[in-house]
């Protein structure tokens, strides 16, 4: 068994997805053969450093890869249909209505010159062909659900009149307007105050259950996935390292990168003293240049367990046990 086999109960199955960017300096292999799947009502945490390809993977699901990027291979099976084969006109009906996205920076993800009611209402009149009046009522209802008080008067407000946390609530409301079965949340709390972060995460959890949605939570923050995710997929340099239930990832990580990533998490029950200095462990080196990625396993130059074989063999994502996949030749 080489990849995650699609089950009938899966909402989304991504298989061998490859996204390359054709730049003047060369071809950037940003996402290079990525597999993951999401079941109904499940939260999948997509974890990795910046540049690991997690955001590009989620944009690929919407077929919104910015130029000069291109999906050059793989399948994205959503509700038994391959999104890569769909025409743009068909994708328009998928985006927002079936797969919605919440972006990293709420300060910039609302159009500054349209009121909240205008820009959220537009999506409903566009997708659901609702009247202006009906759209406004639905928008107000959702604003109320995401915890915004006095929703009808907010309809006339503009993004600059709202706080950062408020804007992210509006963005969440926008994503849920058409009750999509799958929501992609790309670092939804990274740019918020710590106190607001917890509120937004609780809100996402609550709404996910209320709307019976699935969610892909893209983040570099292990703390966030620990709190939110049912399963976790760890990405490194455009490839999957490990996929397992959240519990397995934290208790029994098998890929050296996952282990290293977990070791960088500060923990209250650990002492980081080595006698002289006190510091958190770091992963030595930096994320590789993806125009000429390392041969073999992409992590091998930074990997403490690597040997000559790792530089030669490109590891496949293999199942170690039920629901636990690892791409490392050492993790036999």
């Amino acid at each position: 068994m080489t990849a995650i086999a699609p089950h009938n109960d899966q909402l989304l199955a991504v298989k061998k997805l490859r996204v390359h960017f054709f730049t003047g300096a060369g071809v950037v292999q940003a996402v290079d053969g990525v597999d993951f799947a999401v079941s109904p009502r499940e939260t999948l945490g997509l974890v990795g450093e910046s540049g690991s390809g997690k955001t590009i993977s989620s944009l690929a699901l919407l077929r919104l890869i910015p130029r000069p990027g291109k999906i050059i291979g793989g399948e994205i099976i959503f509700k038994h249909e391959d999104l890569i084969a769909k025409r743009e006109e068909e994708m328009i009906k998928i985006r927002g209505k079936n797969i919605a996205m919440i972006f990293q920076n709420p300060a910039y993800s609302l159009n500054p010159i349209y009121s909240i009611g205008d820009q959220l209402g537009e999506i409903l009149t566009w997708h659901e062909k609702l009247s202006r009046q009906a759209a406004n009522e639905r928008v107000a209802e959702l604003l109320q659900l995401v915890g915004i008080t006095d929703p009808f008067s907010r309809l006339r407000q503009f993004p600059h009149e709202l706080s950062g946390g408020m804007k992210q609530r509006v963005c969440i409301a926008r994503a849920l307007l058409c009750s999509p079965p799958l929501v992609l949340a790309d670092e939804p709390t990274t740019n918020l105050d710590v106190t607001i972060q917890a509120q937004i995460l609780d809100l996402l959890q609550e709404l996910k259950e209320r709307f019976h949605m699935s969610m892909i939570l893209v983040t570099h923050d292990m703390g966030v996935v620990a709190r939110m995710a049912d399963r976790i997929t760890v990405m490194y340099a455009g490839r999957i390292c490990e996929t397992a239930t959240a519990r397995t990832i934290f208790e029994n990580p098998r890929h050296p990168y996952t282990q290293a990533l977990l070791a960088t998490m500060p923990r209250v029950d650990h002492s980081y003293s080595d006698g002289k200095t006190r510091r958190l462990p770091v992963i030595p080196g930096r994320i590789p240049n993806l125009i000429e990625p390392p041969s073999g396993c992409r992590f091998h130059p930074r990997c403490p367990a690597s040997d000559d074989e790792c530089a030669r063999i490109l590891p496949e994502l293999l199942s170690l046990e039920e629901g636990h996949w690892v791409s490392c030749i050492k993790a036999g």
Partner: protein
């Protein structure tokens, strides 16, 4: 409430500015010389009595301050005096010559605006493509060419070689084109409008393109696409309106400085507009005409600025007039 107070304040400021500019211009022209003396320098042998009576006729024998105040007083009664060269009332001259300028300038600005939006958006959505490079280099060339040079090229090509458009004037002196005054007028407008359009379009296109490129990179554009809106709707409804806000200032400058760019075009095409009149008036020290034109130029700039500020409030909700 705020907007009304703002407009009133700006209008008061406008009156002060217009008076200030007219004082400056009036004394500057007088520093150059006196029209009667310049006139007489070319024709010696006129007796001092005649000179004195001519000066008296034009009230040039009084002190400068008196002259200025009488001009200002007359202007308040919408009397701009008589042209010394044409011996016609300046007020009606400004209207008839002004119409000739306004019709080519406004037409050129409107055509440029439509072209610049279309070309700028097309180039921005295909950034770094061949189309984009073609648009950018043509526009840069357009901005770098001296104004008269393109005019001469147009005359050479379309009037001299091809012979399809007239090279000078606003109307045929003998029979109008195909017996229609309107067609004849449009026929004469083609080359000057082409020249003005090219320069306006060049700058506006570069401006709209670069603003569009910036806006299209913003997260809210991706968010709008991710909400399922079509590419066209996102580009024209969400991106263009944001990208157009900075271009509004340039558009206002085009309208406000209409008379500032007119002299070059109108000299190249011998176009009977305010620009042409302005140049000849300065050459002949035709005070009342110079003063009248300056008044119009100042007013147009200030009004264009005021209208832009008001337009900003309606387009960009983040802007409030204090």
């Amino acid at each position: 409430m705020g907007i009304v107070r703002f407009i009133i304040r700006r209008l008061i400021f406008m009156v002060v500015l217009v008076i200030g500019v007219s004082i400056l211009i009036f004394f500057m022209i007088n520093a150059i010389g006196n029209p009667i003396e310049i006139l007489l320098a070319e024709r010696p042998g006129i007796s001092p009595e005649v000179i004195e009576s001519v000066k008296q006729y034009y009230r040039l024998d009084r002190s400068l301050t008196e002259q200025y105040l009488s001009w200002l007083g007359n202007v308040l009664h919408l009397n701009f005096g008589n042209s010394i060269v044409y011996n016609q009332p300046v007020g009606s001259m400004l209207v008839t010559w002004g119409w000739e300028t306004v019709k080519i300038q406004v037409l050129a600005i409107l055509i440029s605006l439509a072209l610049a939006i279309f070309i700028g958006v097309t180039a921005a959505t295909r950034q770094y493509s061949k189309i984009d490079f073609g648009v950018m280099s043509t526009a840069l060339l357009g901005r770098s060419l001296p104004g008269f040079f393109l005019g001469i090229l147009l005359i050479l090509t379309f009037s001299y070689w091809l012979g399809i458009f007239p090279s000078y004037g606003a109307y045929s002196t003998r029979s109008p084109l195909m017996g229609s005054a309107l067609l004849d007028s449009l026929w004469h407008m083609v080359l000057p409008v082409m020249m003005l359009t090219y320069f306006n379009t060049a700058t506006l296109t570069l401006l709209i393109r670069s603003n569009m490129v910036d806006v299209l990179r913003m997260d809210f554009i991706m968010a709008a696409r991710a909400s399922g809106l079509s590419a066209g709707r996102v580009v024209y409804r969400h991106a263009l309106k944001n990208a157009f806000i900075p271009a509004l200032t340039y558009l206002a400058i085009l309208f406000g400085l209409m008379l500032g760019t007119a002299p070059v075009t109108e000299t190249v095409f011998t176009w009977p507009g305010l620009g042409f009149l302005y140049i000849t008036a300065i050459q002949q020290l035709d005070y009342p005409v110079i003063m009248g034109e300056n008044l119009i130029i100042t007013l147009m700039l200030v009004i264009a600025n005021l209208l832009t500020d008001i337009a900003y409030v309606f387009i960009d909700p983040r802007i409030r007039l204090e």
